[in-house]
Amino acid sequence: MLMFRVRSWGRSAIGCTLLVWSLLAAISAVRVGLAREPDPIADLEAEFLALVFDLPPSGLVGYLEAYGDDAGTDAAVRMYFAAQYALAPRVVVGRVGPEFLIVARGTERSGGDPRLEGYHLIRIFPSGHRVYRRLVP
């Protein structure tokens, strides 16, 4: 009988501890969530959606990748992936070659980027992104 009561009290104590901890952890999670900065994807998506009228409705679209120290950074990769997310079902490939080419802001080498040879500028958008088209298909 005593054994059973000890076990029962032990279980109750563990249960109460878990409940109190759950409550505190849940409150902490809400506080951490409230302190979070807004995700930039919605803004990036809106920027790239503005390009759709200057691009074909489907097929390959080139994307000029960042160069030097900027290449491969989270910001550069996020920008490229966001372009694909916004512009599906077009397939945005991270290279030059396709007839249409997106030059996102900050990706072009200053003083003339040799990768843009053969392309001409179609439009510059307020976001700083640009769309180029190849002169000879």
Binding site: S22, A26, S28, V30, G33, P38, I41, L60
Partner: protein, 468 residues
């Protein structure tokens, strides 16, 4: 409104079909049954969407017409069959409910507050990131956009290797299908799908532990107290649906085992449902093949000693639709190796990676570092603590179910660990970016294992036992 109809149609049809075919007879908890009906409905709607795509249909208005006719037809046939079943009076009488104690009310009250906090956390996360976390918009929702926007060219979603073209399509097809019903790409759709799966996980775990007992609500509170789990629900990735299919497969197999032991209820339906759930796990993420392998072994372990191989056959029947669809997708549509396994696993490579000390020296401390800190604010250490608690239950005479669940979790962990050893990707980066999500996959099963006991003696029995 249209998306709600798209969600409810397969759920209602699958619910009616489960009742009509009496697949639910071995499942004692209505909460578990509700969670199963909702998520199996969503899962099967993903399969039918994929089959319609394979037949050349595009996701648009005509798709909505065909899809809604299909599910209405299934529901109508099931309803017609239900009306022919014997009346309720012939079914077994419900057990009288247990008296609700102060402890029960306390546990339920705290759970309610924790659940509200979890919903608030998810809404806050959605407000900050309406498109979900990185992999949600770069992989899962992006594929849904290709399916929804791409018409006949939806297979263009396979073009970019960085978006993991070989990943199974459960989440993207569910989202694209509901967008088609809504007639627009609403960001509320993928987060609602994620929250439905998250709520179903909690419902299944609480139901499996018997909602009449305080421990079920304590387990539900512990499950939601891990902020990382709640954050992953709002992240709109495939790991939460996967976690549902894993834990519900284990719950249903446990119910089947109990039904066999009690010789009440027909376990055939439970084995069929368990197979369906395991198959849908494989159709959700590549890791689902581990679920299929581990639970198949569990089914054989359970069915063959009972001299009932027919039960294992029903498990195969349940798993077949999703596995055949997966095989078609992997072999015909997207025959590409996952990014983390691009090297052919030769014998020499396997020996070097598994037996050589170099990889273990890198992977082991990294895993311990991330796994021991997993859980979110004030919840670091819950994974090792839950493992210890589960192990303590497993070694007792009432820990048979926990031993089975831990065995499956062990297979899952072994699979994850094997991939970390084998991968040609940078290990630190891979562990850092995946371990949170992998632990979310097993977290509900781990909580279930820590709280589950078999045939626990009632207090009166225990008193008598103590007196003797």
């Amino acid at each position: 409104m249209g998306a709600v109809a798209g969600l409810l149609l397969p759920v209602a049809a699958v619910g009616a079909a489960i009742v009509a075919l009496r697949l639910h007879s071995g499942i004692r908890s209505r909460a578990v049954l509700l969670a199963l009906v909702v998520c199996v409905g969503l899962g099967l709607s993903s399969l039918t969407t994929t089959w319609l795509l394979a037949l050349g249909m595009v996701i648009g208005r005509s798709f909505v017409v065909v899809d809604s006719m299909l599910w209405t037809f299934v529901g109508a046939i099931a309803w017609w069959h239900i009306r022919r079943l014997p009346s309720a009076s012939q079914r077994r009488a419900a057990e009288s409910p247990r008296p609700v104690t102060t402890t029960d009310w306390l546990a339920r009250g705290v759970f309610a507050v924790v659940a509200v906090m979890a919903v608030v956390s998810a809404i806050v996360a959605y407000t900050a990131a309406p498109h979900g976390e990185w992999d949600a918009w770069a992989v899962w929702n992006q594929k849904a956009r290709f399916l929804y926007r791409g018409d006949a060219g939806w297979s263009a979603l396979l073009a970019n290797d960085w978006s993991n073209p070989g990943h199974p399509l459960l989440v993207p097809t569910i989202v694209a299908r509901l967008w088609a019903y809504a007639g627009a790409e609403l960001t509320i759709v993928p987060v609602t799908v994620a929250m439905v799966f998250g709520a179903s996980i909690v419902t299944a775990v609480v139901g499996a532990l018997d909602a009449g007992r305080a421990r079920a609500w304590i387990a539900g509170s512990v499950l939601l107290a891990a902020g990382t789990f709640v954050q992953q629900v709002a992240s709109q990735q495939a790991d939460v649906p996967f976690a549902f299919f894993l834990v519900s497969t284990l719950v249903v197999l446990r119910e089947a085992t109990v039904a066999i032991g009690r010789t009440e209820g027909d376990p055939v339906g439970s084995f069929l449902l368990a197979g369906t759930l395991a198959g849908l796990a494989a159709w959700t993420k590549n890791e689902g093949l581990l679920v299929v392998a581990a639970t198949a072994a569990l089914v054989v372990w359970r069915a063959l000693p009972q001299a009932r191989p027919r039960l294992a056959g029903w498990w195969v029947v349940g798993a077949a639709p999703a596995l055949v669809t997966l095989a078609w997708f992997k072999l015909v549509v997207a025959p590409v190796a996952p990014a983390y396994l691009t090297e052919a696993p030769t014998i020499a490579l396997l020996l070097e990676r598994f037996l050589g000390p170099e990889r273990h020296a890198v992977v082991d401390p990294l895993l311990w570092q991330y796994a021991s800190a997993w859980g979110g604010p004030l919840a670091g250490g819950v994974v090792p603590l839950s493992l210890v608690a589960s192990a303590l239950v497993a070694v007792t005479r009432i820990g048979r179910s926990t031993r089975s669940i831990l065995a499956v979790i062990g297979v899952m962990f072994a699979g994850y660990y094997g991939i970390y050893l084998l991968t040609s990707m940078e290990i630190e980066w891979l562990v850092m970016t995946t371990v949170d999500r992998l632990l979310v996959q097993v977290w509900p099963a781990l909580v279930l294992a820590a709280f589950l006991t078999d045939d626990e003696p009632a207090p009166a029995d225990a008193t008598a036992a103590a007196a003797t």
